[in-house]
């Protein structure tokens, strides 16, 4: 009687396809990942069915649930130049190092008078900084100045890039500067209204309200 011989299979299996796939995914995620910039405030935007993408090049006003107002603008150079203009207006001095640091920073929500202190805070500690929001009452509307100077520098920068691209015969990738408001769903309407009024007073009538995507009714 012949003996039944179980074929001895090799316990090591070929992992190459799996490894290939793993690396493919790693590459994909590395290339698509966009890191969230640390922001001094967490904001939960309301959802809408709008499918428009968030503008890449924008003056962004963030409104926290407590109604504090934060400001940022796209671009390292633009931020630096804006701060220089603001410093001149408010007769404050910033060192070169502080300007550099401000260029790297994302949103901030402090008055001009406290800004130097905020810039000199360690990046990891900024969340704990007692941000009071940018003042925007009618007597001391710093937000309006930020928007005006930021908007001006942003437009100048865009024009520069456009001319550069035209000279090199390329098509420009960046979009023109937009104005966006990112407010928490539970923020009081009156604060949002104040911010909108600040914009309209500067003769800016068109802006974007950031929302989360939500599936609308299908037809």
């Amino acid at each position: 009687m012949p003996k039944i011989k179980m074929p001895r299979s090799n316990p090591t299996l070929d992992m190459t396809p799996m490894v290939d796939l793993a690396f493919l995914l790693v590459t994909f995620f590395i290339l698509t990942a966009s890191f969230k910039n640390p922001e001094p405030v967490q904001v939960l935007t309301p959802s809408s069915t709008s499918e428009k993408m968030m503008p890449e090049n924008a003056v962004l006003i963030t409104i926290s649930p407590e109604g504090k107002v934060f400001f940022t603008i796209t671009g390292f150079d633009v931020r630096k130049l804006t701060l220089q203009r603001m410093a001149a207006k408010y007769k404050l001095k910033f060192t070169e190092k502080e300007l550099e640091e401000f260029g790297k920073m994302t949103s901030f929500g402090v008055s001009m008078q406290n800004l130097a202190k905020f810039i000199n805070t360690e990046p990891g500690q900024r969340e704990k900084f007692p941000s009071t929001g940018i003042p925007m009452d009618s007597l001391n509307n710093q937000l309006s100045d930020w928007i005006r100077y930021g908007g001006y520098e942003g437009v100048v920068k865009f024009k520069e890039l456009k001319d550069e691209a035209a000279a090199a015969g390329r098509t420009l990738q960046t979009e023109p500067l937009r104005f966006a408001i990112k407010a928490d769903g539970n923020a009081n309407y009156i604060i949002v209204k104040e911010v909108i009024k600040t914009f309209t007073d500067l003769k800016i009538y068109k802006f974007n309200l950031l929302t989360n995507f939500e599936q609308g009714p299908t037809e």
Partner: protein, 212 residues
């Protein structure tokens, strides 16, 4: 013949032939690399955010030059008032504090966010909704192309016959309500709407309505 001889003799020759280098295994232990790959993979999967924020573009009305007449509110205009606790009230036409021209004073009607609001808006915007539906059908039947459809839809939304809506909110309303309302307008193909300041008489009426 010699070749053949050599060939046949190769058996004996083979063992004494040139010394071959010992074949080393070409397999490399890939485990650490794979470990690292998966570690990175996990990290990027967990940290990457896919849901990029979306935006709603909104244009605010340019304030009319001072001294120009106030725009008329007619029956085609509807005002929505937002207030606390996510409540929304609305009225049609001009705001009348007291009965005027034989018409009764303005009364507020409450509407709930969601289906009720959707139904109300679709009802008010029926005319435009119908024509947009018609255009949609034409596009499906390939009678008109996409760009024509978009142009027609925009035209329909902005036509003089289209109703227009005004959003006002009091101090207690939250931002979310505003977005929800504008979103509902967009869903219902309403193109003519504006956000303006609330009047004191409207606030009073709202307070009456909410305290009930």
């Amino acid at each position: 013949m010699a070749e053949l001889g050599e060939g046949s003799g190769s058996h004996a020759h083979g063992k004494k032939g040139p010394v071959r280098a010992k074949k080393q295994s070409t397999r490399v232990d890939m485990t650490p690399m794979v470990d690292l790959a998966f570690l990175l993979l996990t990290f990027f999967v967990l940290t990457s955010t896919f849901s990029k924020p979306k935006t709603m573009e909104i244009t605010f009305p340019v304030p009319p030059p001072p001294g120009s007449p106030k725009p008329e509110m007619n029956v085609n205009g509807h005002t929505f008032l937002l207030t606390k606790d996510n409540r929304v009230f609305w009225y049609s036409g001009e705001f009348k504090e007291v009965p005027k021209n034989g018409l009764p004073a303005t009364e507020l009607t409450e509407v709930k966010f969601g289906e009720d609001l959707n139904k109300l808006l679709l009802d008010k915007n029926d005319l435009i909704e119908q024509s947009i539906k018609e255009y949609k059908k034409q596009r499906l039947n390939k009678e008109i192309d996409d760009s024509t459809y978009r142009k027609l839809a925009v035209e329909a939304k902005g036509s003089p016959k289209a109703p227009f809506f005004v959003i006002k909110a009091d101090d207690k309303a939250v931002y979310k309500n505003l977005i929800d309302l504008i979103d509902e307008f967009n869903i219902c193909n309403i193109g003519k709407y504006a956000v303006t300041d609330i009047m004191i008489s409207e606030v009073n009426l709202l307070n009456q309505a909410t305290s009930k």
